[in-house]
C-alpha cells in the first residue's frame, strides 16, 4: 500500500494529468493527493483518477484545490490523514423524481408510495445531497401538495431541492412553487455528473 502527494500548482493542462498518470502507472499507490491551482486541472485530474478506479474527493481553499484519490476504501492510511475532522469523504447521492406517483398499477397507491418514499428519504442520512424534480415530479413542490411537507423537511436538513423550471412553466405552476430552487437542465446535468450515486425513477 502506498500513498503519494503531487504538487502540480503552476502547471497547465495536460501536465498535471501526465504527472498523475506516472504515479498511477506505478500500480502500488492506493492514496494519491494532488495539489492544483486552477479549475481545469481540478476537473481533469479528478476525471483521470476516477477513470483509473479511484474514489475522488476535492477540497478547496483560497483557489488551491486538493484532489484526493483513494482505492480500497477504509483500509488506507490516507483516509485518516486527509480528513481528520470531517471523517471519511462523503458520498453524494442524488435522487431524480420524474413523476408524481411511484410505480404503475394503481394511481392512488402510486401517490401514497411516492409520499412515503419522500418521507423516508431522510434515512439516507447526510449522504442524501440533492433531490431533483422533473416533469410530473414538480407538482410535489407546489402549495397544497401533500408532498410539500416532506420536501421542506429535507431542505431544512440541508438537502438541495432542484425543481425543473421548464416543467413548472409547462404545468403553469411557476408561481406556486414553495420549496427548492427553480433550475435548468444545465444544473440538473451537472448535479448528475457530480453525484456519486443517482437514484432515479421516472
Amino acid at each position: 500500500m502506498g500513498e503519494a502527494t503531487l504538487d502540480c500548482s503552476g502547471l497547465a493542462c495536460p501536465q498535471p494529468v501526465l504527472k498523475v498518470k506516472q504515479v498511477v502507472d506505478r500500480g502500488d499507490v492506493t492514496c494519491l493527493r494532488v495539489i492544483v491551482d486552477n479549475g481545469a486541472a481540478r476537473e481533469n485530474v479528478s476525471r483521470f483518477l476516477e477513470r483509473s478506479g479511484y474514489e475522488v474527493s476535492v477540497r478547496e481553499q483560497a483557489g488551491i484545490f486538493e484532489v484526493t484519490g483513494t482505492r480500497e476504501a477504509g483500509a488506507s492510511i490516507c483516509d485518516a490523514v486527509t480528513a481528520p475532522e470531517e471523517g471519511r469523504a462523503q458520498r453524494k447521492i442524488a435522487v431524480l423524481i420524474g413523476t408524481d406517483q411511484m410505480g404503475t398499477g394503481d394511481e392512488t397507491l402510486g401517490r401514497k408510495l411516492l409520499l412515503n418514499f419522500i418521507g423516508t428519504l431522510k434515512e439516507l442520512g447526510p449522504e442524501l445531497w440533492r433531490v431533483i424534480l422533473l416533469n410530473g415530479g414538480v407538482k410535489l413542490s407546489v402549495d397544497e401538495s401533500d408532498g410539500l411537507p416532506g420536501l421542506l423537511e429535507l431542505e431544512k436538513d440541508g438537502v438541495t431541492v432542484l425543481v425543473c423550471g421548464t416543467c413548472l412553466g409547462h404545468f403553469q405552476l411557476l408561481d406556486r412553487k414553495r420549496v427548492g430552487e427553480t433550475t435548468n437542465m444545465m444544473d440538473i446535468v451537472t448535479a448528475l455528473q457530480l453525484a456519486d450515486k443517482v437514484i432515479s425513477f421516472t
Partner: protein, 319 residues
C-alpha cells in the same frame, strides 16, 4: 479593444463591433477588401503540419465572410538563436503550400525573435459588398450546417500528452490542415443567411455570437454534431484544455438542455477549435441539399446540426 473609439467611415462594412471573423472595407460598388490576421502556438509536433494548420486557420476567416483570399503575409515568432532553422523552414513550407492551395500568393512577412514559436498569416481577400456573410444574419427557421468535426483542442492536448492513437492524431491533423475553401465555394451556390468559422470559442461560443447577433435562439441536435474519433474517451481521461473549460463556463448561463446530455459531450461542444469548420445558416429546406453537396466535394463530416427555432434572447437549447 473596447476602449478604442469606433470607426465611422461609411465604407467600413464590417468593423470591430460585431465580433466578426474579419474586417470588410468597400472599395467600389463591386469590390470590398476582407482583412484578417491570425497566428497561433504549435498544436501538433510536426513543424510542416503546424505550418499547414496555422495557414488554413488564418485563411479561414476570409472564407467565413464569403470572400476569397488574394494575398498573404507570414507572421513569425521563432527562437532563431536556440533552435534549428530547418524547423522554421518546414513551418513556412507548410504555410506556403496552403496559401497556394487557397489560390492566394505570399507577398512578404515579418518575424521576431521569441522563445516560443508562433506562426500565422495576415490575409487580404475580396468579396462583393452585397455578398458579405456576417454572423448576424440568421433567421428563424434556418438550419445550421457544420463542415468539420469538433474536438481539435482536446486532441491537441492529448497529442501533447502522447495519449492518442496514431490514427486519431492523423485525422485531427488532416481536419485542421484542410482549407475551408471547398466548403465556402459549395456554400456560395446556396442562398446563405449567415456564416462563421469555429475557432477559439468553440461551437458554443460561436453559436452564441450568431444567436445573440441575430436575435434568435438556436436548438442544437447534439447527437448529430460530428466529432473527431476518440474525443469523448479523451475527455473522460482528463485531457480537456483550460480554454475549453472556460468556454463552457462562460456560455453556461445562456445554454439550456432540453434533455439529459452526456457531460463529456458538453465539453466537446465547448472545446476551443483550431482551424475549425464553417458554421452556415440557410433556409432549413435547403440545408439537406447543402450537406449533400458538401459530401460530394469530399467534406464527409458535414452535418445539419441545429435550427434557429425562435426569435429573442440569443439562447442555445440542447436537444
Amino acid at each position: 479593444m473596447e476602449t478604442l473609439p469606433l470607426e465611422t467611415d461609411p465604407n467600413l462594412l464590417v468593423g470591430r463591433e460585431t465580433s466578426d471573423d474579419a474586417g470588410v472595407y468597400r472599395l467600389s460598388d463591386e469590390q470590398a477588401l476582407v482583412q484578417t490576421i491570425d497566428f497561433i502556438t504549435p498544436v501538433v509536433n510536426d513543424p510542416y503540419d503546424f505550418g499547414r494548420i496555422a495557414a488554413a486557420n488564418a485563411l479561414s476567416d476570409v472564407y467565413a465572410m464569403g470572400g476569397h483570399p488574394l494575398t498573404a503575409m507570414n507572421v513569425v515568432c521563432f527562437p532563431v538563436k536556440s533552435m534549428d532553422k530547418a524547423v522554421l523552414g518546414e513551418i513556412l513550407r507548410g504555410g506556403i503550400e496552403t496559401i497556394h492551395a487557397a489560390g492566394a500568393v505570399l507577398v512578404g512577412g515579418h518575424s521576431v525573435e521569441d522563445p516560443e514559436i508562433k506562426y500565422g498569416l495576415s490575409v487580404t481577400g475580396l468579396v462583393h459588398p452585397n455578398e458579405v456573410l456576417t454572423n448576424a444574419g440568421v433567421q428563424v427557421g434556418d438550419g445550421l450546417v457544420l463542415t468539420k468535426p469538433l474536438g481539435t483542442g482536446i486532441l491537441a492536448t492529448a497529442i501533447k500528452a502522447g495519449l492518442v492513437s496514431k490514427e486519431a492524431e492523423r485525422r485531427a491533423i488532416e481536419s485542421m490542415a484542410t482549407l475551408n475553401r471547398k466548403a465556402a465555394e459549395t456554400m456560395a451556390e446556396f442562398k446563405v443567411h449567415a456564416c462563421t468559422d469555429i475557432t477559439g470559442f468553440g461551437l458554443f461560443g460561436h453559436l452564441l455570437e450568431m444567436a445573440t447577433g441575430s436575435r434568435v435562439s438556436i436548438t442544437v441536435y447534439t447527437e448529430r454534431v460530428p466529432l473527431l474519433p476518440e474525443v469523448l474517451d479523451l475527455v473522460q481521461m482528463g485531457l480537456v484544455p483550460a480554454g475549453s473549460f472556460e468556454n463552457r463556463n462562460y456560455c453556461a448561463h445562456q445554454i439550456e438542455a432540453l434533455r439529459a446530455i452526456d457531460p463529456m459531450l458538453l465539453d466537446v461542444l465547448a472545446d476551443a477549435q483550431t482551424s475549425g469548420g464553417l458554421l452556415i445558416a440557410l433556409p432549413q429546406e435547403d440545408a439537406p441539399s447543402l450537406v449533400d453537396a458538401l459530401k460530394s466535394h469530399s467534406i464527409l463530416d458535414a452535418a445539419l446540426i441545429g435550427q434557429a427555432t425562435e426569435t429573442g434572447s440569443g439562447k442555445i437549447l440542447l436537444a
